[in-house]
Symmetry: C2
Subunit: 302 residues, 2 copies
């Protein structure tokens, strides 16, 4: 018994197109339609053929949906929800994939006061963007967090959980505010730091861009992958999860200052203690299947 | 014509054992001997069989060497050099693989005032340590930086360059001080930031370790790989490249504070501008073969 028969994807980038591909692979009888505000993206999605139908308007794409997933940057969620409001079937469930939840819930609730809303966030992705970048196995073994508000019908949450599990994901239910704090540390601040260090490197007068590139295998190149992620998506995440990001950033800065002081004063024990402690988390991530266990992420070494 | 006939590796961890394996693969007629101060590492190296001989003392290992490469943490370079001083053949070249160069040059010069010293630094590695972690292709396509001082004979530099090129590396000659600044940005500060954020995450009271691990695919897990690197090696790097690391850290902190302010005041343009700019460096790294071009470093997605 499939949780949904007609799924609509609004926003056909990396995540939206991956969901569509995954539905086709795991639930081939489900009809998947979609829409993107950008006509060029619509044309590319049409050509790639991962949807049963690409609609020219958001309204037309949802007309017979029983699940609508908004896959747009979190700052565009309100507008995307407003664009489907008039045509949304009254029994459809609306979800999303936004990386911050409290602000998205507010935006969706405002645009769709009558709808059944179950917000979601699949914690998965790559540094590539656009409909060409998606692939069906993106959610395999990854976690999808649902953050239903108290008024969400239990049955709707159960169906959405079954949907994500059918795509290969693990599902967790979480309070939206707690989600925003957890993701600030596991995703948002790491991205901000990566963007920052790549910017710092670009701006150094004494070190050329060619040198930064040549010697990036010393560690820097890892940060450039994350710092190649979609700029609009990430701008919106920071503007919409401000409070939690600033809280984690403040703690990070204090910790970094303490290490800076240890370096200045030659306090090797403080450095060694931290550097030993951090290995345990890596082991936990490998043991729980959340990263490739091969050295160097399994990067090709000829 | 091989640049060296008898190579000695002092320190049989990831880098030392990779050099030994690479020499065996690319220059099978070269005799490679080695020593490690830790008897357990010597026994494991012996069992792994990547050396022609594992000597019980540093002195015995260099007795007929024409190239000696010190592959120990930079804080241990002086002691490692002193341990071979009495037995080093007068025509042997001494090199190293340390991640900071100015302090290492001073330590080697003090311990071996008469020797021909050509310091080096292969910019390559993984997060794994020990003789089991090494592999012959580690240096393929990576850069090895040589930082000879003015008194180094040109012929010695030419031979060491030929040696590294035979292992598949590209070679660059650089001033030691400039090396230390370049590596502070491409390697040292990225490692420090990674260690810091993993520490910050471990210390959060409101977010459990289990949550950090589960949702690490949001970006955090990338940092945990680097933060699993060898603690002794990295403590020594920071203590020995203090000046350059503090300089780059100061710039990084200023840049991060500017972004923090942009988030606090809702200045999306500043965020978007940086996030767009940083993609170019990633492209350069891919184009120049310094990272895997596949999304997500080529991580396995089932």
């Amino acid at each position: 018994m499939l949780p949904f028969a007609r799924v609509t994807i609004i926003g056909l980038g990396l995540i939206g197109s991956s969901i569509a591909r995954a539905v086709r692979q795991h639930m081939p009888t489900v009809r998947v339609t979609g829409h993107d505000a950008d006509p060029d993206v619509r044309a590319r999605a049409e050509a790639l053929g991962f949807l049963d139908d690409v609609a020219d308007t958001a309204g037309a794409s949802v007309i017979d949906a029983d699940l609508v997933i908004l896959c747009v940057p979190v700052g565009a969620m309100g507008a995307a929800a407003a664009a489907i409001a008039a045509d949304l079937p009254h029994d459809a469930i609306v979800s999303d994939v936004g990386g911050s939840k409290a602000s998205v819930i507010e935006a969706l609730r405002t645009a769709l006061p009558q709808a059944t809303i179950v917000p979601g966030h699949p914690v998965a992705g790559t540094e590539h963007s656009g409909p060409e970048a998606g692939f069906a196995s993106l959610f395999h073994g990854r976690w999808c967090i649902l953050t239903p508000t108290d008024d969400a019908p239990e049955a709707a949450v159960v169906r959405l959980r079954a949907f994500w599990e059918a795509l290969g994901a693990n599902v967790e239910i979480m309070d939206p505010r707690h989600h925003d704090l957890v993701l600030a540390i596991t995703s948002h601040v790491p991205h901000l730091i990566a963007y920052t260090i790549v910017g710092t490197a670009s701006d150094l007068e004494e070190v050329t861009r060619s040198e930064v590139i040549k010697y990036s295998a010393g560690g820097f190149r890892d940060f450039t992958r994350i710092a190649a992620s979609d700029p609009t998506m990430w701008r919106d995440v920071f503007l919409n999860n401000r409070e939690a990001v600033l809280e984690i950033l403040q703690r990070f800065s204090e910790d970094l200052t303490a290490l800076q002081r240890a370096i200045r004063w030659g306090d090797g024990d403080t450095l060694f203690d931290l550097f030993s402690r951090t290995r345990a988390i890596r082991r936990g991530i490998i043991e729980q299947g959340q990263d490739d266990s091969r050295p160097d992420f399994g990067r090709a070494h000829e």
